[in-house]
């Protein structure tokens, strides 16, 4: 079977081999519409490639590491990243290259092309949607084209594609990919058209921008929009855009440029052109028997159809499943830069100010009623910041992903996470906190009499130490509050002192790998680019670093607000405990508020949730998770179920927890390895582990119930496995 087929030779029987996109363009061309010259690399080429180089089983091993339903979006991104790197690292064998080379060269010679995905089996009206797989614009020359064919193949395994295929019940093991290679049509005006408005079935929608379509599709260039009557084609309304930028082809891809002044004032389409596009959309609908979502472009007066597919509305999954939302957070560079400004200049300062304002209030001086109001007020404030955390901080984490992908594409490192080494070594808030702890520990280490006084909880006489401790508590709190699933605090600063005594018993935790590697990687990375490109690469690196830093800092800042909530709740709890003569540890804050407001109300205790314990007959021996920090460590497990477990932490133990909360990171320097239920390479815990060079495995289902405190545990951070016993 030939691996390549020209568009005009595609017939009905080829549909499964060429995929929906290539097939529909072939059909439109055959009914006389203007479509760009194109070739299709059949799905068979993909199959031959993955079978021949051993990728098929490597991919399946990767995506079957864990029950897909239990995977967090960050783990999906990690799996997709690792698979993408496998493709980047594996050249197309010469026998397949030979088959592809001559038809592509004969057709396009040195012309620039677009390399697009065309996934078979995903073109039904239920399963076709935009943006799952990659397309690459303005690619020139056989080597570059084949390179991008490989990247399109890899995009079969993008995070979003993995999730949607699962949701639609498509068989992941059977998924395959054809690739469409199209002559680039450098249109001056481009856009999309929906034959039927998803929000109103009586209407059609046309959107248009100046320049190429990519700016519109990824949301960085705002389009003009026309709403049409589907019956008559009459324009019902037009929404003009703020026309500022356009996407133009450049030597090696595309670039954003400011829009010339004369175009800023003028809509990209005339009424006549709107009518022409609408007619094409209706013709396509008639041919395919369903309303179409069409991409088009005008080159001078010639209208080209770039692609056509049935309109779909993507279900966003169940409301509890946030994964589709996360995966929709692909942000462009421009978009992330604006978000960074907002976060650094507005949100963080406001958050710090809020925390300081709250900590300045003396809750002990409030009456019961006032205290109840204050708790409710603080919970509202906290809720507001949590909402901002989701809407702005989490999306900003995409900065790391954007840099990571760019780095892997340009540098092609063997380790797909090498980019993390360029992002780290920033001034993370939790490292700053740990540094301050270490300074105090070193004072204790040097002064046995101070150590003795601390041990016996006697008054501290050393003024220098006392000042440091007060400053620390002022800035970071006394480490005793744990937020998250259970809201509770231990009493007083005894916890810190206990930790300091433990830290003092051992030499300071080693800093991670030397800075040489970090500096080397950065200079090696930047030296790959020239002038303008270097500036872009440096900006992207800077953005990635800000995103990395914030992934940690935002937790600390949010932790400060949370602490103020807890302080108020604790004050209430103490008062109610005294009044009712009962222990209320972990009580629902709403119950405490109610009891403060009504002096005769006795709050209900929260039923304790016991961790699932396996019967003695069944014991986990080796659990698979995700490799999140390279290295190997063996030690006794310390399973963290509540704040008190933190203060019993012994040096050299393996930290086993559900998720490393910001208020837990102070024990990290004491630990020799980390096991976490929550999965991902870019989560807070993994970042901290990496900063300390600790072996870390994340995404271990039921980590805290399968592993018991005291178990001998080996953490293999290279392979992402934990061995117990």
């Amino acid at each position: 079977m030939s691996l390549v087929i020209p568009l005009d030779q595609i017939k009905g029987k080829d549909r499964e081999q060429v995929g929906g996109k290539a097939f529909s363009l072939a059909m439109l061309s055959q009914i006389g519409m203007n479509v760009p010259e194109a070739l299709c690399v059949k799905a068979e080429a993909y199959h031959q490639f993955i079978a021949c180089v051993g990728l098929r089983e490597r991919i399946l091993l990767e995506i079957n590491r864990k029950n897909f339903k239990e995977m967090r979006w960050e783990e999906m991104w990690d799996a997709a990243l690792r698979i993408r790197n496998m493709f980047l690292q594996t050249p197309i064998p010469s026998e397949i290259t030979k088959e592809l080379q001559s038809p592509i060269e004969d057709k396009f010679k040195d012309k620039a092309v677009v390399v697009r995905s065309s996934a078979p089996g995903e073109d039904s009206s239920q399963a076709s949607f935009a943006g799952l797989h990659e397309s690459y614009i303005n690619i020139r020359g056989i080597a570059a084209i084949l390179e991008h064919v490989r990247l399109v193949w890899a995009s079969l395994w993008s995070d979003a594609a993995l999730l949607y295929r699962q949701e639609l019940g498509l068989d992941i093991e059977k998924s395959t990919m054809a690739v469409l290679i199209q002559e680039i049509v450098n249109g001056e005006r481009s856009g999309v058209a929906f034959g039927k408005n998803p929000n109103d079935g009586s209407q059609a929608v046309i959107e248009a921008v100046y320049g190429l379509n990519s700016g519109l599709v990824d949301g960085t260039v705002e389009p003009d929009r026309w709403i049409l009557d589907r019956q008559t084609g009459k324009v019902l309304s037009q929404r003009p855009a703020r026309r500022e930028k356009w996407v133009r082809p450049s030597v090696d891809g595309v670039r954003f440029e400011p829009l010339p002044a004369d175009l800023c004032q003028k809509p990209p389409l005339t009424d006549d052109e709107i009518g022409r596009i609408f007619n094409h959309v209706l013709n396509a609908e008639e041919h395919f028997g369903a309303p179409q979502d069409v991409e088009w472009t005008f080159r001078e007066d010639n209208l080209f159809i770039l692609q056509s597919r049935p309109i779909t509305t993507i279900s966003s999954g169940t409301s509890e499943d946030k994964r589709p939302w996360y995966l929709s957070l692909r942000r462009s560079f421009e978009n992330l830069k604006a978000l960074r400004k907002k976060i650094e200049e507005e949100l963080i300062p406001a958050m710090v100010e809020e925390a300081e304002r709250l900590s300045g209030q003396d809750v002990a001086a409030l009456s019961d009623i006032q205290l109840a109001d204050e708790i409710a007020h603080r919970m509202d404030i906290h809720g507001r910041w949590v909402a901002i955390y989701w809407s702005d901080f989490i999306p900003f984490a995409h900065g790391m992903r954007l840099f990571g992908q760019f780095y892997n594409d340009t540098v092609r490192p063997e380790d797909p996470y090498e980019f993390m080494d360029l992002l780290g070594r920033g001034q993370l808030k939790s490292l700053e906190r740990n540094q301050k702890l270490e300074e105090m520990a070193s004072m204790v280490r040097k002064d046995p009499s101070l150590a003795l006084r601390l041990k016996e909880f006697k008054t501290i006489k050393d003024e220098g130490f006392k000042r440091k401790l007060d400053e620390f508590i002022q800035q970071f709190g006394d480490l005793s509050c744990s937020i998250g699933e259970q809201t509770q605090c231990l009493q007083g600063p005894d916890g810190i002192l206990r930790i300091l005594l433990k830290m003092a018993k051992h030499p300071p935790a080693k800093k991670r790998r030397g800075s040489h590697r970090h500096e080397d990687l950065i200079s090696r990375f930047l030296s790959r680019f020239k002038e303008k490109e270097e500036k872009f690469a440096a900006e992207l690196l800077d953005l990635g670093r800000a995103s990395y830093r914030l992934r940690d800092d935002d937790n600390i800042y949010l932790g400060r607000i949370e602490r103020e909530v807890v302080v108020a709740i604790e004050e209430g709890r103490r008062r109610i405990e005294k009044r009712c003569r009962m222990k209320l540890e972990g009580a629902d804050p709403a119950e405490i508020i109610k009891a403060l407001r009504h002096s005769d109300y006795v709050p209900k205790k929260r039923s304790s949730t016991e961790p699932i314990k396996l019967s003695s007959e069944l014991k986990a021996r080796q659990i698979i998770g995700q490799p999140a920090g390279p290295g190997i460590a063996k030690g006794k497990a310390r399973v963290i179920l509540g704040p008190s477990d933190l203060f019993t932490f012994e040096s050299g133990e393996i930290l086993v927890c559900d998720a490393i909360e910001p208020n837990m990171t102070f024990v990290v320097p004491l630990s020799s390895g980390i096991v976490e239920r929550r999965g991902g390479m870019l989560i807070h815990g993994a970042i901290i582990a990496r900063e300390y060079g600790l072996p870390c495995v994340t995404g271990v289902p039921e980590a805290t119930s399968l592993i018991q405190t005291g178990d001998s545990v080996t953490v293999d951070g290279f392979l992402g496995i934990v061995i117990i016993g």
């Binding site: 051993g54 990728l55 089983e57 399946l60 091993l61 080796q622 293999d716 290279f718 392979l719 061995i723």
Partner: protein, 155 residues
């Protein structure tokens, strides 16, 4: 007579090579304090049949067993879980001594091993993974249900 013997040996060697290249997994038998222990491992045989290679991480029970007692056995077979196995299937038990491959020869053996199991690249490349080489002393070859021959491998 000698010639016939040589031809028989050559045919048996070819048979073993075919069997080993058709099968991906072998049963590894180790022991610790008189307690035998069995595992499935992805294996490969060198062309001269002197060695069987497999890989494991060092925190496993099999690795601990091997470290305290390097005498092991491996079983490779071509059964298909049908009744016909009783007359059709062949099984080979290899006995010998295992050691971890280190130093300059590791690269060569790792390449050989990955040529057969390319999907294990991440696993074998991990610093926590050991590549092991069994120096086979004897193959016990069982065919036609009860027909058993021994092939002694010269060092």
């Amino acid at each position: 007579m000698r010639l016939i013997q040589m031809e028989r040996t050559a045919r048996l060697r070819e048979f073993l090579k075919d069997l080993f290249s058709s099968q991906r997994l072998a049963v590894l038998a180790t022991q610790s304090r008189k307690q035998p222990y069995g595992n499935l491992v992805a294996f490969m045989a060198t062309n001269d049949l002197k060695h069987l290679l497999f890989a494991t991480t060092r925190a496993t029970r099999k690795y601990a067993n091997i470290s305290s007692n390097p005498r092991i056995a491996m079983v490779v077979d071509n059964r298909s879980n049908r009744e016909a196995d009783f007359h059709q299937a062949a099984a080979v038990t290899a006995t010998g001594v295992v050691k971890e491959i280190e130093g300059p020869e590791k690269n060569r053996f790792q390449k050989l091993y990955l040529a057969k199991h390319p999907y294990l690249k991440e696993f074998v490349s991990s610093p926590t993974c050991a590549l092991l080489r069994m120096d086979v002393e004897t193959y016990y070859v069982v065919r036609q249900f009860q027909n058993v021959v021994e092939l002694h491998i010269k060092k």
